[in-house]
């Protein structure tokens, strides 16, 4: 996947579980789980919502790594 993420870390700082995180960003628990596992890259809208809830920028949580796109192909 093209994105590395630290969502689990920020979620732990907030002290919420995946279901509560999902409610805060208006998405399902399953999606939060998939993002944390790296199985799903969120849309821009969802990434911005997550960053806003965590009180940081999108770049703090998600990191684009060069070369991962080629591995995916």
């Amino acid at each position: 996947m093209p994105l590395n993420n630290r969502l689990k870390e920020y979620r732990a700082k907030l002290g919420v579980n995946q279901q509560e995180m999902g409610k805060l960003v208006q998405t399902s628990r399953q999606t939060i789980s998939q993002i944390e596992r790296g199985d799903y890259s969120p849309s821009v809208t969802l990434a911005l919502k997550i960053a806003k809830v965590c009180g940081c920028t999108v770049e703090d949580i998600f990191e684009y790594v060069e070369g991962n796109d080629d591995e995916e192909q």
């Binding site: 998405t27 628990r29 998939q34 799903y40």
Partner: protein, 259 residues
């Protein structure tokens, strides 16, 4: 780049030539079989065996599919009870969500195949001479209806309950399964990741269905010539094939024009 294009073109042409030659020889072989009536006794024996197996297969398949569906559902219930005790266990959540798909798939497939077996079994009773005793025909007919209704309700029960658990896990999903617009409401309540999974699944289903339709068209043509099934099966498969591809293209066009 040019080499890979030439290679792809060569493989494509080779594939078409093999299909052409294979089709020619299959057609010739089929014609010889029809001319000599070589399949006459095979057709009768095969029909006899299939007709006699219709009811036992119907009953056995119904029972087996329901047993498997119920076992999978009860396994989900067990995991759900574990989750209620340990709500913070993310792995258990993921495990349960993966497990919930299985009873749904089994019960859905079971319903479709039970319909097929039921109609086949009734066809055998009503339209063939497999059973000559009228009393046996009546008993089989009534038993078939009872088995169908009972197992259909059990399969629907499994689906209701599995969706019930899904709704408890995801309270934002409020669509009612008995609503005729259940699917569209459920999809509208799904988030972006869930919709992406659905779209990928749908595309995968289209690819496989296209392949299966191609195979079924060939099978229908062979059956029409060898077993005198007529062109209705071929017509049905062609309609499904055409509608599948047309609806895919129309929906793709709509999706491009949206926004």
């Amino acid at each position: 780049m040019k080499n890979s294009k030439n290679k792809a073109a060569f493989i494509c042409i080779l594939f078409m030539v093999v299909c052409l030659i294979g089709g020619f020889f299959c057609g010739r072989f089929t014609y010889r079989l029809i001319e000599n009536n070589s399949l006459g006794s095979l057709k009768e024996n095969l029909s006899d065996i299939l007709y006699r197996c219709a009811f036992p297969t119907f009953f056995a398949f119904s029972a087996l599919s329901v047993i498997i569906g119920l076992a999978l559902y009860f396994s989900c219930c067990k995991t759900y009870r574990q989750l209620q005790k340990d709500n913070e266990n993310d792995e258990l959540w993921d495990k349960l969500e993966e497990k919930l798909d299985k009873p749904m798939i089994v019960s859905e497939l079971s319903l479709i195949i039970i319909y097929f077996f039921m109609i086949s079994a009734f066809y055998v009773v009503i339209c063939t001479d497999t059973y000559t005793d009228d009393n046996i025909k009546k008993i089989l007919f009534i038993a078939g209806i009872i088995v169908f209704v009972v197992f259909m309700f059990i399969n629907l029960f499994i689906q209701f309950k599995a969706i019930g658990i899904e709704k408890k896990l995801n309270p934002e999903k409020t669509a009612n399964i008995i609503d005729l617009k259940f699917i569209s409401k459920w999809v509208s309540q799904c988030d972006e990741a869930e919709r992406l999974i659905m779209y990928k699944s749908a595309f995968g289903a289209i690819r496989i269905t296209n392949l299966v339709c191609t195979i079924m068209i060939i099978a229908a043509i062979i059956a029409a010539f060898l077993f005198n099934t007529g062109i209705f099966p071929l017509f049905c498969v062609t309609v499904i094939f055409a509608v599948l591809n047309l609806s895919y293209m129309i929906n793709g066009d709509k999706a491009q024009k949206k926004k």
